[in-house]
């Protein structure tokens, strides 16, 4: 058993490369999904009906679709629309679009629980439209939604493991190739699991730091 972990250690550059890919994918898609989700959340609460119906339809569709199937659609579907993509960009795009829906729903839910006074005061001070949203509505919203957004980031890290199926060299894919090369399944996959665990603990630490910041500002 110790020997098996030695084999994984000898292949550490492959494993770290996988970890790095998982990290880059997760950070990029979490950030992009949060920004796009904030914009989509504006549509979800729009005053006119049409954008609400479209945004709601998209959000519900994504929330009822398994991520792997959506990733397959993006991976096989975009080339037939004439967009040439390698599997790395296809995976990233799939993660971003999919999680934008979840982030939008999270932010909409958090917004519904916020007191209306700050926004009303903002309007009284002459803020309108996007400026009002960006300066007055969004900052306390992000702090309030922190823990749920953190959970979604963990979900993104875990969803990225599905991308091993479209041969994206992320962490699970690295563990798979080490296992198939040296036949050390336990050591390879346990190492991957521990690294995922550390990533999630890192996200949780970040979330509680944001929570403390929010408490300090209150």
């Amino acid at each position: 058993m110790i020997h098996d972990f030695g084999v994984v250690w000898a292949e550490r550059s492959l494993m770290l490369n996988g970890l790095l890919n998982t990290l880059i994918l997760s950070v990029l898609s979490a950030f992009a999904a949060l920004v796009l989700g904030a914009l989509l959340a504006m549509l979800l609460t729009h005053k006119t009906k049409a954008p609400v119906v479209v945004a709601r339809g998209f959000v519900d569709l994504m929330r009822c679709t398994p991520f792997l199937l959506f990733a397959y659609i993006v991976y096989y579907g975009l080339p037939s629309l004439g967009i040439k993509f390698d599997n790395w960009s296809a995976g990233l795009v799939a993660l971003i679009i999919y999680n934008t829906a979840y982030m939008a729903e999270i932010l909409r839910g958090a917004a519904a629980a916020q007191p209306p006074e700050p926004a009303e005061a903002g309007i009284a001070f002459g803020f309108t439209g996007f400026g009002l949203y960006r300066r007055i509505v969004l900052p306390p919203l992000l702090l309030a939604a922190g823990p749920v957004v953190g959970n979604q980031v963990i979900q993104i890290v875990k969803d990225s493991a599905f991308l091993t199926i479209i041969a994206l060299p992320e962490l699970t894919h690295a563990a798979s190739s080490i296992q198939s090369r040296h036949y050390v399944p336990f050591a390879a996959f346990i190492s991957a699991v521990i690294l995922y665990w550390l990533l999630c603990l890192l996200v949780e630490t970040g979330v509680s730091a944001v929570g403390r910041m929010a408490d300090a500002r209150r």
């Binding site: 519900d60 679709t65 398994p66 199926i165 665990w197 999630c200």
Partner: protein, 215 residues
């Protein structure tokens, strides 16, 4: 894509539904047992459960499935794709269920327990008559939410060779050189199932809020 192909995907759907139902049925009591271990602070077992839950919640189902499927035969436990799938789904959902059950147990009013104690109820009777009926109600939305999450990760089963919805769709796509239509059929099967669970959860939450609102 022919009618036989659509039928093949529906056959896969039966497998998916069967395996996820088994995972749910096994994961519910397992999660409750682990929540009770943590709630009653059983020494050592409580810490072990805490680590198990934290680890399983952070592990992607694909990675867990590959670990079980390849590593268990390596240590002398023969396991097929179907059993590995059921085991992975159960382990995954039991960890999440444990947290839902535990949150309800933590919220349980202490005075009710003390009242039951004062009329001489033993711990097992107290749990059966007083605690359990109430935490089932308060946990239900969370548990159903977890069920919908479980259904959404079932395509992972295809990775180890279970012919579920996803693998059936991939196979047909490879045969017909048209990968997209079978995936749309697959999503069309998932949609109503997950949507029904999500709607049920929303309805339960609304009903609960209405019942708890001061009259």
């Amino acid at each position: 894509m022919s009618a036989a192909d659509v039928l093949a995907i529906f056959n896969g759907a039966v497998t998916t539904l069967l395996l996820s139902s088994l995972g749910i049925l096994l994961g519910l009591p397992l999660g409750l047992a682990m929540a009770l271990i943590r709630w009653s602070r059983v020494p050592l077992a409580s810490q072990l459960v805490a680590v198990y839950v934290s680890l399983l919640r952070a592990t992607p189902i694909v990675t867990l499935l590959l670990l079980l499927f390849f590593a268990l035969p390596n240590v002398g436990v023969p396991i097929g794709p179907i059993s590995a799938g059921i085991l992975a789904l159960t382990m995954n959902t039991s960890a999440f269920n444990c947290e839902v059950w535990r949150a309800s147990l933590m919220d349980f009013p202490k005075d009710q327990l003390e009242a039951a104690q004062s009329v001489g109820m033993r711990a097992s009777l107290r749990f059966r008559r007083i605690v359990f009926p109430q935490i089932v109600r308060s946990s239900l939305p969370g548990l159903i939410n977890e069920m919908s999450l479980l259904i959404k990760v079932t395509p992972a089963l295809a990775v180890v060779g279970v012919v579920d919805i996803t693998r059936a769709a991939v196979r047909i796509g490879a045969e017909t050189y048209e990968p997209l239509p079978p995936f749309f059929v697959a999503i069309a099967i998932y949609l109503p199932i997950v949507y029904a669970l999500v709607s049920l959860q929303r309805w339960l939450e609304r009903r609960r809020a209405r019942l708890e609102a001061p009259a």
